[in-house]
């Protein structure tokens, strides 16, 4: 019984493969051959490398932004780029060792989980340079540059804008995992809302995060969009009409929940994080009030450029509103939803933060 079956299967699949193959060749194989010896762009012998954390380079968050930034320097500065994506925590040390034997001049590592591995690799390879994204050591290491962000500053503005725009008097936020790089957004957002309440004598509430107790809603990972949707529905049920998910791709789950709510006639809005969501998550651009942006790609490019010019330093880079390392994205399509008065107040707040008159504090803020 099985022999004829297998024969049929074999004949069928072979024919299919042959046809598909032939078609593919006919469709794609007809171009002209390039002249030999073309494509000799000037190449630097500088090798820039990057090791991701377990989130991978497609996390729509800091791994991806850093990777894109480094990839950009491959074209702009003509350096060679090598990348290693970690699948688990056990990979960090192995990947870094691999990078060391691959002759990397400057190696980026992404996230606090790589802190120990980077420290060990830096100690063993004092002639090489490192940069770690979103993490800083208590005592700076001679050949490691920390790249961190005072995200609370930009999130503060987002919180103020959300409070001023909310119709229900409640705004919501939730995180992926309770780690400092996530809670710093939520702290800033919370304080921004409180600032609005104080200035206007209102009582807009934040659901999903309490700065005082450092407790709130989390989905538990940065993968499951469905959980993000559930949590968002929950926040909407509690009366929030503006939601800021701080959970990488899980934010799309929030977008889906808000889309449903909007279809049901509710006036709801989304605040994106890390990148300008109007550009990076365009399917939800009609819901996008604004975004709290961390310019990670730009920072990576700047560090590479400095190092190729021999100007590497181990002084930490702290992204702030002042140096445009963090920013509040434009309101884009929802520009009309924000009053001119609010906009000028946001400008004033930003100026105060830049000048140092106003200090946004969070337990998670980078240590000075």
């Amino acid at each position: 019984m099985k022999n004829p079956l297998r024969a049929t299967l074999k004949r069928g699949s072979m024919a299919g493969v042959a046809t598909a193959g032939a078609a593919a060749l006919l469709l794609s194989g007809c171009g002209a051959a390039p002249d030999a010896g073309s494509g000799t762009a000037t190449k630097s012998d500088f090798v820039g490398c990057i090791v991701s954390d377990a989130g991978g380079f497609d996390d729509q968050s800091f791994n991806q932004s850093s990777y894109d930034g480094l990839k950009k320097t491959e074209k702009d500065l003509g350096i060679t780029v090598k990348s290693a994506e970690s699948k688990s925590n056990s990979d960090y040390e192995a990947n870094l060792n691999g990078m060391m034997s691959a002759g990397c001049n400057l190696t980026f590592t992404v996230g606090f989980l790589l802190g120990d591995a980077t420290k060990a690799a830096a100690a063993a390879n004092t002639d090489k340079h490192f940069a770690i994204i979103d993490f800083a050591y208590d005592a700076p290491l001679a050949n490691v540059k920390a790249v961190v962000y005072d995200t609370a500053q930009a999130a503060y503005l987002a919180g103020y804008a959300a409070a001023a725009t909310s119709k229900t008097g409640k705004v919501g936020t939730f995180g992926g995992i309770k780690i400092p790089t996530v809670t710093i957004f939520m702290d800033g957002f919370y304080d921004g809302v409180q600032a609005y309440n104080k200035a206007k004598g209102k009582s807009v509430q934040v659901v999903g995060w309490d700065k005082a107790t450092q407790d709130g809603s989390f989905t538990g990972d940065f993968d499951k969009q469905d959980t993000g949707k559930q949590v968002t529905l929950n926040l909407l049920d509690q009366g929030a009409d503006i939601v800021m998910p701080v959970a990488g791709p899980v934010g799309k789950g929030a977008g889906a929940a808000l889309r449903e709510a909007k279809a049901a006639g509710k006036d709801v809005k989304l605040i994106w994080v890390d990148s300008d969501g109007y550009l990076t998550a365009p399917e939800y651009k009609d819901l996008m009030l604004t975004s709290v942006v961390k310019q990670m790609g730009e920072a990576v490019e700047a560090v590479v450029k400095d190092d190729t010019e021999g100007k590497f330093s181990n002084a930490a880079y702290v992204g702030t509103l002042a140096n445009d390392g963090v920013a509040l994205a434009p309101f884009h399509d929802l520009d009309s939803a924000v009053s001119a008065e609010t906009k000028s107040e946001l400008d004033a707040l930003k100026a105060d933060i830049v000048s140092g008159k106003l200090v946004v504090q969070s337990q998670a803020s980078p240590k000075k």
Binding site: S28, G29, G31, A33, N97, M99, F112, D116
Partner: protein
């Protein structure tokens, strides 16, 4: 029902050819086996010493030869996959007809480069000598330990999906002892191991107790306990006791030097845990084949009713085997925190507990089989790093290729049918015909 087939077969071992075929069935089924009740049965014949059959047939039909073919097929298919994702190949394919040599050369280079990188990353390269091999052994250590835990439970007829949770619990306890207590060298490491292993054993025993007392299915219990362990760890990492002072990140302090496995060969990451894994492998082999309790485990796995009739205390055996399985997996957790990572994070167990299931099945649920399957997986994991960095092959493709290789190795019948190495059994005497049919069916169907 399959166990009945098997037991009836075991009753007439007079016919020598039937032994050979029975062994074939055993080996065939063990690899692709998915039904829990069948696994231990297939592993019953600890001895593979059938001396009958022509030498040529044994070589051609033997597992070694089929495995080599499997690797060749997998490497070829994987190579095509790598080539199809390679930038140069895509570029040259656009002018395939104008200059086909470019395309073929690019394809060949993409394939060979990747495999050379895999070898250089896992066994030997001119720059570092045999350093990569040591890395392979390091990565394999937790896989072997956890794989043994899964394999042992298989032999007693229990499908232990819970290695992941057992690793997490043991890693948590071991790490806690490792960074909070400050004790002299030797004693500290010993306590780390003891606490970790006790934790894993308890986590396994819970499953055994629930199974023995209430009949709860071990698959669902182990899966749920995995979640319990994982989220318990996430919770603990957010408490002050498990965090570094002054840091809010969910990462524990480093374990004391005294709490970690000493490095065996300076310059590498290979630690004492590997030798522990070797000892454990021998220990499990001894227990299964030489001890009364091991015999009881196998009896329960082979036929629960018969074992009970014969006087085996089935509940006791169930609880014990799960506790042992948990303890073995726990050694994997200890190897993680005290061997390679030296800190406790939410991802401390990675995918080890799940890879361990594959490792155990690939090793046909025998201790030494599991050991070598663990080494193979370790080599893949270690080699993936070089494959990724040297050739730029995306890590996901690397993992796809590796999974393909495992798939082919684990399914010898597939390879036999591709190369038309079908056992010709129709000419046998009528007496063994039914068994030949069974062998054929199992061999062909999987």
């Amino acid at each position: 029902m399959a166990s009945k087939d098997k037991s009836s077969k075991d009753k007439n071992p007079d016919e020598s050819t039937s032994e050979v075929q029975a062994a074939d069935v055993v080996l065939d089924t063990a690899g692709g086996m998915l039904e829990p009740s069948l696994v231990p049965v297939s592993s019953q014949s600890g001895d593979t010493g059938h001396r009958q059959g022509s030498l040529l047939r044994r070589i051609v039909m033997g597992n070694g030869f089929v495995s080599v073919l499997a690797v060749i097929v997998a490497l070829f298919l994987g190579g095509l996959l790598i080539a199809s994702t390679d930038g140069d190949v895509a570029e040259t394919s656009s002018y395939l007809f104008a200059r086909p040599t470019d395309f073929l050369l690019a394809t060949w280079e993409a394939m060979t480069e990747s495999y050379v990188a895999l070898f250089q990353g896992s066994v030997f390269n001119p720059r570092q000598g045999f350093q990569p091999l040591l890395e392979t052994l390091t990565v394999a250590t937790p896989l072997i330990c956890a794989g043994l835990g899964v394999a042992l439970a298989f032999r007693a007829g229990l499908f232990n999906i819970g290695a992941q949770g057992q690793i997490i619990i043991s890693a948590t306890l071991a790490a806690y002892v490792g960074f909070t207590w400050h004790l002299p060298f030797g004693l500290h490491l010993l306590l780390v191991i003891v606490m970790g292993v006790l934790g894993g054993a308890a986590w396994g025993a819970i499953v055994g107790i629930l199974k023995a007392r209430t009949g709860a299915h071990e698959v669902i219990v182990t899966i749920m306990l995995n979640y319990v362990a994982l989220f318990l760890l996430d919770f603990l990492l957010n408490t002050a006791a498990f965090r570094r002072p002054g840091d809010n990140s969910p990462i524990s302090p480093r374990l004391d030097e005294t709490a970690t496995y000493p490095v065996l060969i300076p310059g590498s990451r290979l630690h004492l845990g590997f030798l522990v894994a070797v000892l454990l492998t021998y220990g499990v082999w001894w227990m299964l084949n030489r001890s009364t309790i091991g015999f009881e485990f196998r009896a329960v796995g082979a036929n629960l009713v018969a074992a009970r009739t014969a006087g085996v205390k089935v509940p006791r055996a169930t609880i014990l085997v799960m506790a042992f399985a948990g303890a073995l997996a726990a050694f994997g957790g200890v190897a993680q925190v005290a061997g390679t990572e030296k800190v406790l994070t939410g991802g401390v167990a990675a995918q080890i507990g799940f890879d361990a299931i594959t490792v155990a099945l690939l090793g046909r649920s025998t201790p030494w089989g599991t050991f070598f399957a663990g080494l193979l997986f370790g080599a893949f994991r270690a080699g993936a790093v070089q494959m990724q960095i040297q050739t730029g092959t995306p890590i996901d493709i690397v993992l796809v290729v590796q999974s393909l290789i495992v798939l082919f190795i684990a399914a010898p019948p597939l390879i036999r049918s591709i190369f038309r190495l079908e056992p010709k059994k129709k000419s046998k005497t009528p007496k063994v015909a039914p068994q030949a049919a069974v062998a054929n069916a199992t061999g062909g169907a999987k």
